[in-house]
């Protein structure tokens, strides 16, 4: 039992590390854009001091870019903060669709690299489980889908509740398989799914994860 928990904690730590690296990369880009935009305003100020007239729209475009990036950075940090707080207690209750959408946002860098798009929709179902294990499981599934699908594909994710079961469906309109071969789920995913009492079924164009709405 202790060994199983060690495996799960190691998996979650790896996922946490990957997400942190991705978030830090995104924040570096945000800072780089703010840095260049502030530098451009500085360049304009130097030109203005020499008597060169700077069109107002050039200033507006640059300041709007800074404000957009501040908003982007705030969203990235808010997501990271929500993710970090899912470790506050071993078992927590939350809206399942919101957790899935959060993980999709946290995996945005990876999906952008492959130009794979995930769409999500709000849904009412609540889940009470170890949220960090749940998030790690969804994250690893998303990584698998990103790895397997060709570039520029879209996957629609829907979350529904049937009595005491939460169903998360990943669907590709082109009917493409989302599991590479027998190596997925691997040991890490199997360990997470066993703890979460989750079952996965996969067919052409769809992958469905079923797990109890309350782990008990």
């Amino acid at each position: 039992m202790e060994q199983a928990h060690n495996t799960l904690d190691a998996v979650c730590l790896q996922v946490f590390g990957k997400i942190s690296a991705s978030v830090s990369h995104d924040l570096k880009n945000v800072l780089a854009i703010i840095n260049e935009s502030a530098g451009l305003l500085d360049d304009f100020a130097l030109l203005a001091a020499k008597g060169v007239e700077i069109p107002a729209d050039r200033l507006n475009i640059t300041t709007a870019r800074i404000l957009r990036q501040v908003k982007r950075g705030d969203t990235i940090l808010r997501n990271m903060n929500r993710f970090a707080h899912t470790t506050d207690a071993p078992v927590l209750q939350s809206n399942a669709a919101e957790i899935v959408a959060l993980v999709v946002d946290l995996a945005a860098r990876q999906s952008a690299m492959k130009e794979v798009t995930f769409t999500t929709a709000p849904a009412a179902g609540m889940i009470r489980t170890c949220l960090v294990y749940f998030e790690a499981c969804i994250y690893l599934l998303l990584r698998q889908i990103i790895e397997v699908l060709p570039a520029k594909e879209t996957v629609a994710i829907s979350v529904t509740q049937e009595e005491n079961t939460i169903l998360i469906r990943f669907a590709n309109g082109n009917g493409l398989p989302m599991i590479a071969d027998q190596t997925f789920p691997g040991e890490q995913e199997k360990a997470l799914m066993a703890w979460l009492k989750a079952e996965m079924s996969a067919g052409p164009g769809a992958l469905v994860l079923r797990l109890p709405a309350d782990i008990g």
Partner: protein, 119 residues
Amino acid sequence: MRVLLVDDEEELVSTLAERLTMRGLTAAWVTGYRAALDIVEKEPFDIALLDVRLPEMNGLELKRLLAARCPEMKFIFLTGHGSEEDFKACSAESGKEYYLIKPVQIEVLMAKLNEIFQG
């Protein structure tokens, strides 16, 4: 000096190109590897400034493709990632002094561009 900037962050690469142009350089920018391979067929460049993490193809692979097409072209890597693995791989290709971490000061970048151009 003709510089090609390749980064999937359009707002970064366009602003940087504008600032380099204001400093007397000829700067063009693209946001993906396909556009980078296309533009070098049409225009000559002395230096390419490459993001390490690009969609579909990493900067290291792109550097090799560009170098095969433009043997005289020189390269600087610019990354927000900063992993040890990326640093080793990219600095082995370009020299560690030409592996820059975002955000970079324009004076530092200009100095590196001049240095690699004259070297």
